[in-house]
């Protein structure tokens, strides 16, 4: 199983399983969010989507590319659980997942 860890506003890290993630995309109208699209079937015609929301940081296209690369690397390294940080992350809370609803999972 491949997982990645993300800094969490409240302290520590939150773990996300990324085995079935097939794409990392921006969220229209929500610059602080990234969607991790999976191939896990949910409702009819829909798949699971994991949404990450940062406290104040706005992930860039480069961040999304790097995250996708980190996911591919994690998938090839069973039992790994690397920490993923945004490129501009200065280890302040703004670059961490939001305390409330930093991670949501839905069918989409």
């Amino acid at each position: 199983m491949a997982t990645l860890r993300f800094p969490y506003e409240a302290g520590g890290f939150m773990t996300v399983k990324v085995d079935r993630v097939i794409d990392v995309v921006a969220v229209s109208g929500a610059a602080k969010k990234i969607d991790l699209l999976t191939d896990l079937p949910m409702a009819s015609g829909e798949d699971m989507k994991i949404t990450l929301e940062y406290k104040t940081a706005e992930p860039t296209a480069t961040d999304r590319t790097l995250l996708q690369e980190a996911i591919v690397e994690a998938a090839q390294t069973p039992a790994s659980s690397e920490i993923f940080r945004l490129t501009e992350d200065d280890k302040t809370a703004g670059y961490a997942l939001a305390k409330t609803n930093g991670i949501t999972v839905a069918s989409a």
Binding site: T3, Y8, A10, G11, G12, K17, A43, I50
Partner: protein, 206 residues
Amino acid sequence: MSNYIQIQVGVEDVYDLPLKSGAITPLNVSTVTFVSAGSSTDLTIAGATQGTGAAGTVTIGGTDQASMTVALSIGATSGDGGNDYKVGDTVSVVSTGGANFTGSITFVVTEAMLITPPADDIALIDADQVVAVKCPSDSDLTVDLFTNEYSGTAVKKYTCSFELDNITIQEIAVNISEAFRSAEQAENSQPFVELADAECLGVTFA
């Protein structure tokens, strides 16, 4: 070959729990002033020494101070019982808007007003099903673990309920996430969630 997260369920102190859903009696309404008949849900329900976060409804009846009747009911929605109310403590109920009453309704907590404590047990969560731990809000007393299953209407999740003491719900969420990571990193591992002073009241899957 499976990985499980283990959570110790049970409480050490059966006199230190959330309030039970339903009517609370008896009430002391000697400092309550009638404003109008009706129901108020904008309540702050706080113990003198401990206990916060309960939610419910105060129903004011009558037409004036002399004919006023007062009833308090704790809600049935998850989390309405609040956290950490203690037998013997005096709890005050205040309406922030004061539309129906002003002043403070009080009651002394009895064992019958608290939820039935859960039996000691160890709950197992199949870590291989888990995708991520939901980030809870400050008012939450539960932590959800999203799974890779779909119920037909929503993503299925494990929901763990807690009585918090000297620890935040976010710290519990991080500890659960760490147990999840640990379970996933070692085949056949079954790590326990570090609860510190918190107590797990139960785990459900739906």
